[in-house]
C-alpha cells in the first residue's frame, strides 16, 4: 500500500518526475554513446598490435641480445626465480624491405604462438601448412615470395613466421633475436579486464606498474609502451569516457536534488507511518523502490538515445568510417546499472541526510583530507591518468562541500544587496535556503568548470599546435611515399623553380626497448630552425621529440645511443599529434633510412606540383596551406565529441536548477501566497524566478571560475603529458572563460524562466 502511495505521489508530481527521468536519461545517454564509440574504436586500436604480440604483457630487451640470454632467463624462470612470470618466448620484430615495400617481420616460436588466421580467407592460403611458410596480412599476399600459410588480421605490411624463417629473411644468425616476450601475472588482471570491458580505454588511464625483474641487464617495456599508437588512442578514449561520466555525475546531483525535494514533502507522512509502526528501513526500502522504477525507465530511454547520439557523434569525429555499434550485454548492463545506481544512490543519500543530516566534523575532515588527496593525484606521475582525473573529482567534491558555508557567509552581507525589491528578494533566497540550492549549484558549477577547463585546454593546445605548425610548415610542397621518390628528387633538383629540396629518410627502430622513428635529413640552419634550434645540427647530435624525451627521460645535453652510435641531445621539439616518439639526426651522422618524403620550396609551387604529378601518379603530394587546414580541421574534429558531452552536462545541470527553483517555490508556499495576496502578477513572478535562476547561475560561475582554472591546469600540465607525452602551456583565453560562463548563466536563466512564474499552489486557499 505504501509503495502504491509512493507511485501515486510520482504521478501527482509529473513535472519533477519527468525532469528527474529526463536528467538521468541524458546522463545515461552520454555514457552509452561514449561507450559505443569507445568500444568500436578500441577494437580498431587493438588491431594495431599484431595478435602474435598482444598475448604478452611485457617485452624484455637488453643490449646485444643473444639467444643464450633468453635461455639463461628461461632456466632461471623454470627454477622458480621469476614467480610472477607465466610465459616467456623469444621474438623477432624487425623492419625489412620486400620489393620496395616496408614490411614488419615478426618471428615467433610456432609451437607456442597463436597465429590467428582470418576465418574465411582460406582461398588465399597455401595448400599445405609449411614450416618455412609465413602468415601475412592481406596487403602482402602478392608481395612476398615465400609460401603463404594463411592471412592474418594485422596492420598492413605485417609478416609472421617461425623464428628461423624470419632470421633467414633478415639474414641474421640463429643466435640473434630482437627481444623476449613475457607474460606477467598480477592479482589485478581480472579486475583490470572487467574495468576495460565496462569502460573501454580504462587500462590506458591506470598507473603503469612495471614488474620487478631480478635478472640484471634486462629492460622491461610494457605492451602499451611498445605500441604507443594504440596506447595513444586508448588514452583519448579514457579522456572522453571521463568526460562522458561528467553528465552522469551531474545527473546524480539532479537526482539527489529531486529526492531531497520529494522527501521534504513526504517526510511528514513518513514520520506518521513510523509512529504507526513502519520501520525507517521499510520506508527507505519503499522510497528506494520508487527510485528504482525511475532508474529503469531513465536507463531504457538513455540506452536508446545514447545509441542514436553515438551514430551522430561517430559521424562527426570519424566521418570516413561507418559505425558498427552493437547493443551488447555490457552496454545494456552499463546503462541500466548506472541509471539505477544514480537513482538509488541519490535517493539513499537524500534519505539518510533527511534522517541524520551531515555531521559537521565529517565536513571538517573532508575539508582537511580532500585537498591533500587532490594534490597527491597531480603530484605523482605514477598515479597515471586516473590520478589526474581523481584530482579533478576531488576538487569537484570540495567545491560542492564549500557551497553551503559560502552561501551562509554571503547571507550575512545580503542586506547590502541593491536593485529592485523583487530581484533583491529572490537573490536573497539563494543565501537564505542554501540546502535547497547547494546541489543544483554544485552541479551547474561542475558543468561550467569542466567547460572552462576543457575550453582552456583546447584553446591553449590549439595555440601551441598552431605555433608548431607555423614553425614547422615552412615548405611549399610535401611529397610522401611512392617508390619513385629518389627519381622525383633527382628531377626536381635540376628544376630552376625549386629553391630548396629537403630529403627525409625514415627508419623504425628501438631505443632502450622503446619504439622510435628515426629521421635522417640534412639539418642545416634552415631545417634546425623548424625544430627551434638556432644552429645546424652537428653530426654527433640528435633532436628528440617531447614524447621521446619523456619516454627516455632525457633532455638537452644528455646522451643517447641510437643504432650503436652515441649522440648528444641538442634539443627537444614539440610533437603534437605524433603517435610514435621521433629522433632526428643529420645525414652526416652516418645513420641511414629509407627515403620517405621530400619537402620543397619553389618560386611557383603550383608548377612544381604539376611537375611532380607528371613524374609519378603514386606519390602523395600536399601543399603547405592544405596541410595546415587539414591539421587544424582534424584538431577541431577531435574535440567535437567533447563539446557535445559538455553541452549534455550543461543541460542536465540546467534541469537541476529548474528543479531547485521549483523546490524552493514548493517549500516556500507561504511566501508565494503572501506575494500573491499583495498583488504580484505573473510577469513579476517570472522576473523573480529569472532573478533566482540568474543569481544561481552567477554563483555557479563564481565557483566555477577557480575550479575551471584548476581543471584547465590539470588537463594541460598533468593529463596531457601522462596521456600523450606532450605538455600544453596553459594560456588564459578570455573566450574559454567567458563562453562557458555565459552559457552557464543562460542555462540557469532559462531554467528559472521555464517556470513562467507558475504558482505551484495555484489559487487554492485553505478554507477556514
Amino acid at each position: 500500500m505504501i509503495a502504491r502511495a509512493l507511485l501515486r505521489f510520482l504521478q501527482r508530481t509529473p513535472l519533477s518526475t519527468l525532469m528527474a527521468v529526463l536528467g538521468v536519461a541524458l546522463g545515461v545517454t552520454s555514457i552509452v554513446s561514449v561507450h559505443l564509440i569507445s568500444a568500436t574504436v578500441a577494437e580498431r586500436l587493438d588491431e594495431l598490435i599484431p595478435r602474435q604480440l598482444a598475448g604478452f604483457t611485457h617485452f624484455l630487451h637488453r643490449a646485444d641480445l643473444q639467444a643464450d640470454n633468453y635461455f639463461d632467463l628461461r632456466r632461471r624462470w623454470r627454477s622458480g626465480a621469476l614467480p610472477d612470470v607465466e610465459g616467456l618466448s623469444p621474438l623477432i620484430d624487425e623492419s625489412l624491405l620486400v620489393d620496395t615495400r616496408q614490411v614488419r617481420a615478426i618471428g615467433v616460436d610456432l609451437f607456442s604462438a597463436d597465429i590467428g588466421v582470418v576465418e574465411g580467407a582460406g582461398s588465399a592460403a597455401a595448400e599445405e601448412w609449411r614450416w618455412d611458410g609465413v602468415w601475412v596480412d592481406e596487403s602482402l599476399v602478392d608481395v612476398v615470395r615465400l609460401p603463404v600459410n594463411g592471412i592474418i588480421a594485422a596492420p598492413p605490411g605485417t609478416l609472421v613466421g617461425d623464428i628461423g624463417v624470419v632470421q633467414d629473411l633478415l639474414g641474421w644468425p640463429s643466435s640473434r633475436i630482437s627481444y623476449v616476450g613475457a607474460r606477467f601475472v598480477s592479482p589485478w588482471d581480472d579486475l583490470r579486464s572487467l574495468g576495460e570491458a565496462l569502460l573501454p580505454g580504462l587500462d590506458a588511464g591506470l598507473p603503469e606498474v612495471t614488474p620487478a625483474l631480478s635478472e640484471a641487464g634486462w629492460q622491461i617495456v610494457s605492451l602499451a609502451r611498445q605500441h604507443p599508437a594504440s596506447q595513444f588512442g586508448k588514452s583519448v578514449l579514457f579522456n572522453i569516457s571521463a568526460l562522458g561520466a561528467l553528465a552522469l555525475l551531474v545527473a546524480w546531483f539532479l537526482m539527489y536534488q529531486v529526492a531531497v525535494s520529494w522527501l521534504r514533502r513526504l517526510w511528514p507522512v513518513f514520520e506518521r507511518l513510523h509512529v504507526l509502526g513502519v520501520s525507517w528501513r521499510e520506508l527507505g526500502g519503499y522510497f528506494a523502490a520508487a527510485m528504482l522504477v525511475l532508474g529503469v525507465v531513465a536507463g531504457g530511454l538513455g540506452l536508446a538515445a545514447g545509441y542514436l547520439l553515438a551514430v551522430q557523434l561517430y559521424g562527426i569525429a570519424i566521418p570516413q568510417a561507418e559505425p558498427e555499434f552493437s547493443l551488447d550485454a555490457w552496454v545494456v548492463l552499463k546503462a541500466a546499472g548506472s541509471s539505477v545506481a544514480v537513482c538509488l544512490l541519490g535517493g539513499a543519500v537524500a534519505f539518510n541526510r533527511a534522517r541524520h543530516g551531515i555531521p559537521a566534523e565529517r565536513r571538517l575532515h573532508a575539508a582537511l583530507i580532500l585537498p591533500l588527496a587532490a594534490l597527491a593525484g597531480v603530484a605523482f606521475d605514477s598515479s597515471g591518468l586516473i590520478g589526474g582525473f581523481f584530482s579533478i573529482a576531488v576538487l569537484s567534491v570540495l567545491t560542492a562541500l564549500a557551497v553551503v558555508p559560502l552561501l551562509n557567509r554571503l547571507r550575512l552581507h545580503s542586506q547590502r544587496l541593491a536593485g529592485p525589491l523583487l530581484v533583491r528578494l529572490s537573490l536573497r533566497e539563494l543565501f537564505w535556503y542554501p540546502r535547497e540550492f547547494s546541489i543544483a549549484l554544485a552541479g551547474l558549477s561542475l558543468a561550467v568548470a569542466t567547460a572552462i577547463g576543457v575550453g582552456l585546454m583546447i584553446d591553449s593546445f590549439r595555440a601551441d599546435f598552431s605555433r608548431m605548425l607555423d614553425r614547422r610548415l615552412t615548405y611549399d610542397v610535401v611529397v610522401r611515399g611512392g617508390d619513385e621518390l629518389a627519381g622525383i628528387a633527382s628531377e626536381l633538383a635540376a628544376t630552376p623553380d625549386v629553391s630548396r629540396l629537403q630529403r627525409y629518410q625514415t627508419v623504425a627502430l628501438r631505443i632502450e626497448g622503446a619504439p622510435f622513428e628515426l629521421i635522417v635529413t640534412k639539418v642545416d640552419a634552415f631545417e634546425a630552425a623548424r625544430y627551434g634550434l638556432s644552429t645546424p645540427l652537428a653530426p654527433d647530435a640528435a633532436l628528440l621529440s617531447e614524447q621521446g624525451a619523456r619516454t627516455l627521460g632525457r633532455g638537452p645535453g644528455d646522451t643517447l645511443e641510437v643504432d650503436g652510435r652515441e649522440l648528444r641531445v641538442a634539443g627537444v621539439f614539440s610533437s603534437f599529434g605524433d603517435l610514435v616518439p621521433r629522433v632526428i639526426v643529420d645525414r652526416g651522422s652516418g645513420l641511414t633510412g629509407r627515403l620517405e618524403s621530400l619537402s620543397i620550396n619553389a618560386d611557383d609551387p603550383a608548377r612544381v606540383l604539376g611537375a611532380i604529378r607528371s613524374l609519378s601518379s603514386a606519390a602523395e603530394v600536399e601543399l603547405q596551406a592544405d596541410l595546415r587546414r587539414i591539421a587544424l580541421d582534424t584538431f577541431d574534429q577531435t574535440f567535437a565529441i567533447t563539446a557535445v558531452l559538455i553541452t549534455i552536462a550543461m543541460v542536465v545541470a540546467g534541469i537541476g536548477v529548474y528543479v531547485a527553483v521549483t523546490t524552493l517555490r514548493l517549500n516556500r508556499r507561504s511566501s508565494t501566497r503572501l506575494l500573491h495576496g499583495l498583488g504580484i502578477v505573473r510577469g513579476e513572478s517570472a522576473l523573480m524566478d529569472l532573478s533566482l535562476g540568474l543569481g544561481l547561475g552567477a554563483m555557479a560561475v563564481v565557483l566555477a571560475l577557480p575550479l575551471g582554472l584548476a581543471f584547465g591546469w590539470i588537463l594541460c600540465e598533468v593529463i596531457n603529458p601522462r596521456a600523450f607525452g606532450w605538455t600544453v602551456a596553459l594560456a588564459l583565453s578570455a573566450d574559454a572563460l567567458a563562453t562557458p560562463a555565459f552559457w552557464g548563466l543562460v542555462a540557469a536563466a532559462v531554467a528559472g524562466v521555464l517556470r513562467f512564474g507558475r504558482d505551484e499552489e495555484g489559487t487554492h486557499v485553505a478554507r477556514t
Binding site: 537564505w432 507561504s670 499583495l678 486557499v765 478554507r767
Partner: protein, 227 residues
C-alpha cells in the same frame, strides 16, 4: 453615505471529488469607509474564502462584489484574474494570521513593498511615519526572523496601510499572538480604520475583537446566514 464595499448574493462552492461543497451561500453586506466588520464562525465556515473573494484572490461563483476606490467603482465579478490582481495591489491591504512577511526582505523593505510594486516612491515618507507610529523604527533594517510575533504583525499592518487603501482585510490577525500583542495589533487596525477612513473586514475567532467591530457577519459551516 455610499458604502466602500458592497456585496450581494455571494456564492462559492468547492469540488470535493464528485461532491460539491457549498461554502458561501448568498452572502450580502455593505461596509462604509471608517467602519469595521467582524467575520466570525467556526473553522471551515468560509471566513478565509470570503476574504479571499473580497481581495480578488478567488472568484465567486455567483454574486457581486463592488469596491469604491475613490477613483472608480469596480465590480470584481466582471474582472479577470489579472485585473483583480492589479486592483488588489493598488487598493486593498491584506494582513494574514501567519507568514505575513517576506523572510528575505528587511522590515523597511517589507513595509515599502506595496509602494514599490505600484511604483510609488513618494510613499517612503509615509512608510517611515507608520514604522515610527508602530514603534518599529529601530527594527527598520532587521530581517523578520529576529522579530517577535507581535512585531511581525505590526509590520504587516504598516505594510497593509502604506498605500492608504480604501479596503483593509485581516484574516485572523491576532490568532497567533498573546493577549497583550493581540490587543495592540487590534488597536492599530481599528484606529487605522477610523482615522484613515478605511473599510476594515476582520475575520476572527476572538469574541473580544469581534465585539469591537461596528458590524458583524457570522458564518456557519452548513448555511452561512447574513446577520
Amino acid at each position: 453615505m455610499e458604502a466602500t464595499l458592497e456585496v450581494r448574493g455571494l456564492c462559492k462552492h468547492y469540488a470535493d471529488g464528485d461532491r460539491l461543497v457549498e461554502v458561501l451561500n448568498h452572502v450580502s453586506l455593505d461596509l462604509a469607509g471608517g467602519r469595521s466588520l467582524a467575520v466570525t464562525g467556526p473553522s471551515g465556515s468560509g471566513k478565509s474564502t470570503l476574504l479571499n473573494i473580497l481581495a480578488g484572490i478567488l472568484a465567486a461563483d455567483a454574486g457581486m462584489v463592488v469596491l469604491r476606490t475613490g477613483e472608480a467603482t469596480v465590480d470584481l465579478a466582471t474582472l479577470n484574474d489579472a485585473e483583480r490582481t492589479r486592483l488588489r495591489r493598488r487598493h486593498i491591504g491584506y494582513v494574514y494570521q501567519f507568514f505575513n512577511l517576506v523572510p528575505t526582505l528587511t522590515v523597511w523593505e517589507n513595509t515599502v513593498l506595496p509602494a514599490r510594486l505600484n511604483k510609488r516612491l513618494d510613499l517612503d515618507a509615509r512608510a517611515g511615519e507608520l514604522l515610527d507610529q508602530f514603534a518599529l523604527s529601530a527594527r527598520r533594517d532587521t530581517f523578520p526572523e529576529v522579530l517577535s510575533g507581535g512585531e511581525q504583525q505590526r509590520v504587516a499592518v504598516a505594510r497593509a496601510l502604506v498605500l492608504q487603501p480604501p479596503l483593509l482585510l485581516a484574516d485572523e490577525p491576532t490568532g497567533n499572538l498573546d493577549a497583550t500583542n493581540s490587543k495592540h495589533v487590534a488597536d492599530l487596525l481599528f484606529s487605522a480604520a477610523r482615522e484613515q477612513n478605511v473599510a476594515l473586514v476582520i475575520a476572527t475567532h476572538s469574541e473580544e475583537i469581534a465585539a469591537r467591530a461596528d458590524q458583524r457577519l457570522h458564518l456557519n459551516v452548513d448555511t452561512p446566514p447574513l446577520t
